[in-house]
Symmetry: C2
Subunit: 149 residues, 2 copies
Amino acid sequence: MRLSSFSDYSLRVLMYLGVHGGRLATAGEIAAAYGISVNHLTKVVNLLGRLGYVETVRGKGGGIRLGRGAAGIRLGEVIRQTENDFALVECFATGGQCQIHAVCRLPPILDEALAAMFTVLDRYTLADLLQGSGELGQMLPQPEAGQPA
Amino acid sequence: MRLSSFSDYSLRVLMYLGVHGGRLATAGEIAAAYGISVNHLTKVVNLLGRLGYVETVRGKGGGIRLGRGAAGIRLGEVIRQTENDFALVECFATGGQCQIHAVCRLPPILDEALAAMFTVLDRYTLADLLQGSGELGQMLPQPEAGQPA
């Protein structure tokens, strides 16, 4: 049971932008900081932009920054929106073939368990991930001029 | 985010055996009832046997039945034991490469969210899945003599 890399990378992008305050960053520098594929990260950034978590400034010297204050970005909300599949078992998904689907008592129990998980995740915001973010900032330094952007 | 088919099938096997009371069933008939691979199901049954959820009677006319009362089989416990990976994000897994692992504040939050999920799952047992199991029994009838076993 794991989150998609899409959700994982979304949280990392938001942490990076949070640590860097309002400075405009690029998908390239974030991908380089985490050592992950810039193509995949660009898709993540695009979705985060459509969802309003990230704001894009176009043109020369442009880039991305948080679209909202960190305290207003709930982790549960981000994961709910970036995870594409909460079908914990086959019958939750369209086209599931389980024979006992019509009478099975498991789905509402799994729904309740997922809801409990999100109740916890919704108690935390990006601001909680950035608390005491000096160390995080050291791990994710601003790239020097001339580094890939 | 989904459970492994191993966990999914484990719950289905336990439901089948619960519905059929103490009657000895076979992996073949359970696989046929659900329309899933008998090879995969046999691995599931073997693990459930090692974990004590299922009891095997060997020899002619042998088969499997529940190894414990349904009310003593907690769903959270089954899923914890049959799911092979609770690495919600990369850093939970051995060999994870996330650069900010050492200072990231996300892992304890995800741990807390998983714990909340299992608190719910541990409130339910196989007996809850079998409540009013007449309908479930109709969907999972005893195979007639001569059917694959």
